[in-house]
Assembly symmetry: C2
Homo-oligomer: 125 residues x 2
C-alpha cells in the first residue's frame, strides 16, 4: 500500500468515527466547505457544509450513537486526487444494521487530504 | 480547464454515447476489466466487465436507443487519478426521462484514462 492510499484509508476511518460520535467539528475537519453529497434520503443533491451537516443531524436524531462502519474498501490514490468505494454498515447500537454503498472523492489541499464528494445509496426497488 | 480534466470530460462523453448506441465494444474500451458498478437496480455490487455489460443489456432491452445525457458534471483530475460527479438524464427517445445521480472514478493506465468505478443512484423513498 503506498503512502497516499494509507493516508486516505486513515482519513476515512477518522470520518467514520466522527460520524459515529456525532462530532461536528471532526466531520467538518475532513471535508472541503463546498462538499457535494448524494445521500440515501432525499434530496437529489446536497451542496455545501451547512447542508451536509443538516443531513447528518437528521441521521444523528434518528440513529443516536450506533453502528457506522466502512468495509470492503477499495482506494485509488494519486498524489493529489483520490477516490474510494466500499460499503457502510449502519444501524442502532447492538443491531446488525443494514448496508449502504459508498463512494468518496478526495483532493489534497495544501498537504492535507479532504473529502469533496460523497455518494451513499441503496439499489432501487 | 487543465488537460487531464479535458480528457476525462471527453471520455465521459464517449462513454455516454456508447451507452446511448448500445455499442458494447465502445463501452468496454473505456473501462478496466475489473470495473465495479453500484447501479440503480439491484444487486448491491456489480463486479467485472461481464457483469457490468449484463447490467447494461437489461437497460438496453428495457430502454432501446433513447436519452442518456450527462449534465452538471464536476471533474477533479490529477495526473493519473480522477473522479467526476453529476447527473444522468435517462429515458425513452422523445421523452423528458428522469434524472439519476452519477459518480465515476478513473485511472490513467499506460497513458489512457479508463473508468474503474461507477455509482448510479436515486434517493431512497
Amino acid at each position: 500500500m503506498d503512502e497516499n492510499e494509507y493516508v486516505v484509508r486513515g482519513l476515512l476511518e477518522t470520518w467514520a468515527r466522527a460520524v459515529r460520535k456525532a462530532d461536528v467539528d471532526a466531520v467538518m475537519a475532513v471535508h472541503t466547505v463546498d462538499v457535494v453529497l448524494f445521500d440515501v434520503p432525499p434530496p437529489m443533491t446536497v451542496t455545501g457544509m451547512d447542508a451536509y451537516l443538516d443531513q447528518w443531524r437528521l441521521f444523528w436524531d434518528a440513529q443516536g450513537e450506533g453502528v457506522f462502519d466502512v468495509s470492503d474498501l477499495t482506494v485509488v490514490a494519486g498524489d493529489d486526487v483520490a477516490y474510494a468505494h466500499g460499503l457502510l454498515r449502519i444501524g442502532a447500537a447492538g443491531t446488525e444494521g443494514f448496508r449502504v454503498r459508498l463512494t468518496v472523492g478526495l483532493r489534497r489541499v495544501e498537504e492535507r487530504w479532504l473529502i469533496t464528494h460523497e455518494h451513499h445509496s441503496l439499489p432501487a426497488g
